[in-house]
Symmetry: C2
Subunit: 350 residues, 2 copies
């Protein structure tokens, strides 16, 4: 039995959209999966009924407090012992749930990740990762891992080089990519390009034989599957790229690239079989939509943790639950623990 | 008389597309403007005729050599004294032309900018800038300056802070924005966010009263006109953002967002007057197209210099010529010299 822990109180539109999303997710999760909701029991039960499901379809862990966006994350995490996030993390570390996801306070989620679930031994710095869509002429839309999208700025080269291992194991276990190609985000393809951080990181990554380092990747290529399955960047750059991608998605959507009803769209079920490429543009931008990604992974800690956008819609929460289920099934933290025990990186070649 | 110097031999498809683009540009440049072509005289004349224009419409400066992409830029610049780029820069510094643009070797163009035209006194580091489209709900598509998009990585905070002045004067003189809002690209809006470089730069920019510093801008907002007209970033980040934007343009185009004939497009002249917003998506992505931007500005040197994509098409060359004409008319380098003489930055507030 897989237990997917969800903060019902997290996000700007909680608990409404959290429960609406959870009810929607019921249709897609496996038979062995169960959604465990943390939050105001009465409201949760009302909303489950409102959205047309039965309370029996969920586990509910009643909590009485909520960490608000304005709260100091570290202080609130301790002071609000009965908050949905604090209780969620206690359940996670005690093995009562297999993963925990919230669209609430990012800061509090990081406190829980670092201080309750804790970094895996050997991980220098946990990292925030996200999935991005890639498009290729033959395979259509696939996914790649972009990391770090927001945690460690001015990261030491050793830290960046280790992201490569984290991302590689994640891509292998969760995305089922056999030998993930790990690349360093840089402003040129050739070795020796970039800033001081990138140059040193390149050497370290090249020397680490635990993953398939394929060299530098320029930002031009991260949305194609041409070069890499895992893109490693400092948080300053990764966060900026992610924000820009999301912004271009929104601009494209608002300016008319969104899902307006159209003949082509209505005919999709038929046309898709004949000319799949007709829908690649729509699919690409759909995959770029934060709502279909669900959230950011906290990688390098002892259990799957996912942080959703504060502005998550029901669709985003549903995606978050499905992504969390996939991550739990991947058994990624255990595989990473294994990899870190087994081997130390080879010395970087000069 | 404005003399627009163009390297007829620069770029992957030169001289063909260079001349095709120059002939196309004739329709759009002012009566007082004249295009001066540097390159193989015989070929240039043949191609002018081929593309349906008359040799009398251009000035031609015959050159016999070409700096190739494989050449070492600094060495080739000196060794190939009669190359189109070397001769172009000599003409520029002697005032025989008012600006020089090429889609050829970026390295050689930088050598010419730094060693022949030379940085303006007081400019710590010249910088590569580009125009990006911004969209706003009321004004449609406008433009902003993004800099540095490729020159100085690991830039000192003083260097970044000075970009603000360069960009502000450029936006005022070339884009006719009255009081350009200058922002620092960062991963959070609030003061104190970001990496070490951004934090120190913020303080310096805040203390510089010669331009209108409006604080941090996240990459989410650089394509809206909400926050900034000038976006300052380290070259590592700026280059990555630009490359990603161009890539998303290409992906969007290839996946079906391109200019395929459609009823809506054919009806554009009529519909545009009634519902201009119908075309904002198309216009936005068109403006994102490197072909309509023309090239990157080398800012901070004593004359307008522009570097086009190696893969420039005739349309890109035409845009480059028109952008160069605009930059020449802006008299930007003289205004920057003036500003640097007049004032020194106030000390940064602690």
């Amino acid at each position: 039995m897989i237990k997917i822990g969800i903060d019902a109180m997290g996000g700007d539109f909680a608990p409404e959209v959290a429960i609406e999303g959870a009810v929607a997710a019921l249709k897609f999760i496996g038979k062995d999966s169960r959604i465990v909701l943390f939050g105001d029991e009465k409201r949760i039960k009302e909303l489950i009924t409102k959205y047309g499901s039965s309370v029996a379809n969920f586990d509910i862990v009643p909590t009485t407090q909520v960490i608000e966006m304005g709260d100091h994350p570290a202080k609130a995490f301790i002071a609000k012992k009965d908050s949905s996030i604090s209780v969620g993390f206690r359940h996670l570390v005690e093995g009562k749930i297999d993963g925990f996801a919230s669209a609430g306070s990012t800061g509090a989620m990081m406190v829980g990740s670092m201080q309750v679930v804790k970094p895996i031994e050997g991980v220098i710095r946990p990292v925030l990762a996200t999935l991005i869509p890639t498009v290729s002429p033959d395979k259509g839309i696939q996914r790649a891992v972009l990391m770090d999208v927001g945690l460690n700025v001015d990261a030491k080269p050793e830290v960046l080089a280790q992201y490569g291992l984290l991302g590689s194991i994640y891509a292998k276990s969760a995305l089922e990519i056999e030998n993930p190609r790990v690349a360093l985000l840089n402003i040129g393809e050739e070795e020796g390009k970039g800033n001081a951080q990138a140059k040193t990181t390149y050497d370290l990554m090249k020397g680490d034989k635990r993953y398939n380092f394929v060299g530098n990747v320029e930002a031009s290529y991260i949305f194609t599957s041409k070069i890499s399955d895992v893109v490693v960047a400092d948080a300053f750059v990764g966060n900026s790229l992610l924000k820009m991608a999301e912004a271009l998605y929104r601009i494209n959507f608002r300016l008319g690239g969104g899902k307006r009803p159209s003949l082509k769209r209505m005919l999709r079920p038929v046309l898709e079989r004949i000319v799949p490429k007709l829908y690649w543009q729509q699919d690409f931008w759909d995959s770029m939509n934060a709502e279909s990604v669900g959230g950011l992974q906290v990688m390098g800690v002892n259990a799957p943790v996912m942080i959703g956008h504060g502005s998550s819609s029901a669709r985003a929460i549903c995606s978050m639950i499905l992504s969390m289920e996939r991550d739990i099934k991947s058994n990624f933290p255990a595989k990473l623990r294994e990899a870190l025990k087994e081997s130390a990186p080879a010395e970087a070649e000069a």
